[in-house]
Amino acid sequence: MGKTLFDKVWDAHVVKSLVGDIDVLYIDRHLIHEVTSPQAFSELEKRGLSLFRKEKMVATPDHNIPTKDQHLPIKEALSRHQVDTLLANCEKHNVELYGLGHPFQGIVHVIGPELGITLPGRTMVCGDSHTSTHGAFGAVAFGIGTSQVAQVMASQCLLQSRPKTMRVTVDGELNKGVLAKDIILYIIAQLTAAGGTGYFIEYAGSTIERLSMEARMTICNMSIEMGARGGMIAPDQTTFDYIQGREFAPKGEAFESAVEYWKTLHTDADAVFDKEYHFDATDIEPMITYGTNPGMGIKITKAVPSHLGEGSVESYNKSLDYMGFKPGESLLGKPINHVFIGSCTNSRIEDLRIVADYVKGKKKAENVSAMIVPGSKQVEKQAIAEGLDQVLLEAGFELREPGCSACLGMNEDKVPTGEYCVSTSNRNFEGRQGPGARTLLASPLVAAVTAIEGRIVDITKHLN
């Protein structure tokens, strides 16, 4: 029987198998940031261990950093201390670090791909659940806890139970105004916030194959929002073209021979998945979430459901109470005061271009504060080179410096209690963008239209 893409990559990394379905899995690249690494470094030191393969690690601060005045010291003492701890640990252990001010600094899941660190067939981990992003290249990439960060530091390996496999196939032409974010919000709404738990997902089908690398990253990024260990897409010419010429990607003959190997990384025709789903792209419309987990999403023109198919009414109502919505009501016309465009889901140059293209020559509504945060210094540089910064400025948007920003409220960028934010980030949990903040997840295009209109609208009526 044939193998799935996941099986091929996983099997190539098994150092040995233990009884009880646990494998010693070799990790090709370990990305670290300031939040989930300090206790791992301490653990290592406590045990008198050193880094086993420091050359396979890359570090950058992203969660705690301000998105204004990055040349100045970080104001908030605890954030500064955590970032300084990363710097000190990297210096002490000789780990490659892209700190503030470095041209490669950025959100860890944005810089991996853009630097050519993320490659097909690799295993990659990071103490951050959105590590699933890197699966867009045909890598097996997943988030880990801090104890596991220490394990990888100590041995370059992890003890992992082998997940089950799932294939989600999307075929057909996308409707007007539908982006990758809508595709993944639609899939999560269909499968629920726990629908992928225990699985590694492969996204396939003609719709996925036509997507750019950046769009594929958006899809894989949110695999964790349905509980999946990770998501992945078979590498193809789009992947190889994206990788070629990037800073740390193989060059010349090494690249050619890598491509030959990467071409073998696809699911065999006779491979069997533990679970399969098929969706028709024409069923997908611009999406928005109304609740407090990413599975609570609807087509922007539809009403808030009276109840979800599973789960208790109490938990569902608790969620709607937090958001200030009622079952059966439409979100159209709801005034919105905050728009956040950024995060590891949607802060790449393509996202910024989509927003700039829509807002060009328009002005944001007066009731809205619109913040757009590039995912990395390189994205920021390119946005400026393309003149996107001027377009955004003239439309009343604030283009900040790179970082995780208002995705999770660890730095100064927060949404005030009780206020609504249409956000391109990945999570709408209670308090995610600050205590009491109400987050509505959407695509960069929905976010851009919302900023101009100052309320939620059927965006398809606002497109040319």
């Binding site: 010693v24 653990e43 738990t197 999770l408 660890m410």
Partner: protein, 195 residues
């Protein structure tokens, strides 16, 4: 890691589904660089008002419900991979979390910190929640060696990976195991075709 021993305790019912790790420990409390002290901020925004007074209607503030076992709705621990969630539950005093379904990364983090996730059937979970809500002095027994959870006259078996079970019972962790494999790992590296 501490050794996990048999737990016989009353329990705290938290019958909410899809509890994400942002609720267990909000992001603003992740700025510490050590593992200690997270219990104070466990369920911070559900437990305290913005002025830091306890919310009377939250179960951790109800003195009737105490114990080393937390019983929760399905899909416990979804969302962020932050291990701080497991640390805060353990630091607060929980040794066991019972639910009908756990998120993957949370489950792994819990097991790596001596906190046992016990996955039970929906039927058993409902009966357990009903029993402890009606009678907070109900004693629940969690026997890892036998892989059984019991209360009143009900009993259910639960699954646990044999390797993780051995680690919990003996207080070992994965690093102890992995650092002894260095020669095998180096041999894998020499033979690997992946770039």
């Amino acid at each position: 890691m501490d050794k996990f021993e048999k737990v016989v305790s009353t329990a705290v019912p938290l019958a909410i589904e899809d509890i994400d790790t942002d609720q267990i420990i909000p992001a603003r409390f992740l700025k510490a660089t050590s593992r200690e002290g997270f219990g104070d901020n466990l369920f911070r925004d559900w437990r305290y008002n913005p002025d830091n007074t306890p919310k009377a209607d939250f179960v951790l503030n109800n003195p009737s419900y105490m114990g080393e076992i937390l019983v929760s709705g399905r899909n416990f621990g979804c969302g962020s991979s932050r291990e701080h969630a497991a640390w805060s539950l353990y630091d607060y005093g929980f040794k066991v979390i019972v639910s009908s379904f756990f998120a993957d990364i949370f489950k792994g983090n819990a097991l790596n910190n001596g906190l046992l996730p016990v996955q039970v059937s929906e039927t058993f979970l409902k009966a357990l929640l009903d029993a402890i809500t009606a009678n907070p002095t109900t004693k629940i027994s969690v026997d890892l060696a036998a892989q059984k959870i019991r209360f009143n006259d009900l009993e259910e078996s639960f699954e646990v990976n044999p390797y993780k079970k051995e680690c919990l019972i003996n207080g070992y962790d994965d690093i102890d195991y992995l650092v002894n494999l260095k020669d095998e790992i180096a041999a894998y590296e020499s033979a690997s075709v992946v770039i």
